[in-house]
């Protein structure tokens, strides 16, 4: 799932400074689940902006709307009327959602209210951790289902660096587990430790040609 977090208020205020009427567009999928861009967050940001201007600054008006998935043109279409009303859009969706919005309404400036940070999972309520780097050349078959590319601070493909701390913690961040220790334990369980002995040539991060594009043959 895509994880994002809200931008600092100062940055947002700077973006929207020239505009009088704003539409805050939320997305009810990934960013809702990670508490960054769902209906609730839209409401809070809108309220905050209203309050900000009520504190003796220039008058702006704020519209609120949340769609199922902002990365779907058909769904964004629902917002057309509201967008026409506003003179700028502040999107709380992930990068692709924001761009869909921008592409749909080319005559309106569309601004990001959140930073799209990574692909991850919730470790517990309110805490999300990165799991996948979307490198386009999945490696998990050889690492017991643990991705060293993002979960090792150095992205090493061949075993741990020399700095692993006592208790299998990372030398860069003692809070974090050393991915390679995790991999070792996992493979040990599966009795596949021989995989640790293999050498892997540097990864071709150009496996996906940017910009990525996938044409399904299923359709």
């Amino acid at each position: 799932m895509i994880i994002a977090e809200r931008k600092p208020m100062a940055e947002i205020r700077q973006m929207i400074a020239p505009y009088k009427k704003l539409l805050l567009a939320g997305c009810a999928t990934c960013v809702a689940v990670c508490w960054a861009g769902g209906e609730k967050e839209v409401g809070i940001l809108a309220s905050q902006l209203r309050l900000a201007q009520s504190k003796g600054r220039k008058k702006i008006s704020v519209l609120e709307a949340t769609v199922e998935r902002q990365c779907e043109k058909e769904m964004v279409e629902e917002l057309r009327d509201k967008v026409q009303e506003a003179d700028a859009v502040l999107s709380l969706a992930c990068g692709s959602g924001i761009q869909t919005m921008a592409e749909m309404f080319e005559d309106k400036p569309v601004f990001p209210a959140v930073n799209t940070t990574f692909i991850g999972m919730p470790e517990r309520e309110g805490l999300w951790v990165e799991m996948c780097g979307a490198c386009g050349d999945c490696f998990l078959d050889r690492t017991g289902g643990i991705c060293p590319v993002v979960r090792c601070a150095k992205g090493l493909l061949n075993g741990p660096c020399g700095g692993t701390r006592k208790g299998g913690k990372c030398e860069i961040d003692p809070e974090k587990d050393c991915a390679w220790v995790l991999i070792y334990r996992r493979l040990e369980k599966q009795d596949r430790l021989d995989l640790m002995r293999q050498y892997y040539t540097p990864k071709n991060f150009r496996a996906v040609k940017r910009p990525g594009r996938i044409q399904s043959v299923k359709a």
């Binding site: 905050q48 902006l49 309050l51 504190k55």
Partner: protein
């Protein structure tokens, strides 16, 4: 614009405490508006912000004593949200309008009145 103080009162503790304050004729600012909630944990960030949008000058969230919440963690969550709210208000330099959480038990009318007076003290006139 009027100068209301909004108090979200847990029906297990703060609300009865407010009633007792009335019974004992303990006076507190007339501008207080009490909203009864089943637990301080029901109070959401947006409720607090909306209160300010509607011209409240301060918001109180009153729940059970820490460790005696009828819903175990409701009052601790409320406290976290109140802190988050203060952060949000700071972001927009609106920290002149205070939000505070107090814990009390149903037989503590004096503590209720003290909470109200406490928050009244913290109110800063806008622009100062």
């Amino acid at each position: 614009m009027n100068k209301c103080i909004v108090a979200f009162c847990c029906e297990h503790s703060a609300y009865p405490a407010a009633d007792l304050a009335g019974k004992l004729r303990l006076h507190y600012p007339e501008s207080l508006r009490i909203i009864r909630v089943p637990c301080a944990g029901r109070v959401d960030v947006i409720h607090i912000l909306k209160a300010f949008e509607n011209g409240a000058v301060a918001v109180l969230v009153l729940g059970c004593e820490d460790g005696a919440c009828h819903h175990i963690t409701g009052n601790t969550r409320a406290k976290e949200r109140v802190e988050y709210c203060n952060m949000l208000l700071k972001e927009i330099e609106a920290d002149g309008s205070p939000v505070a959480m107090f814990n009390l038990s149903p037989n503590e009318p004096h503590k209720f009145v003290r909470a109200v007076n406490e928050i009244t003290k913290r109110i800063k006139e806008p622009g100062r």
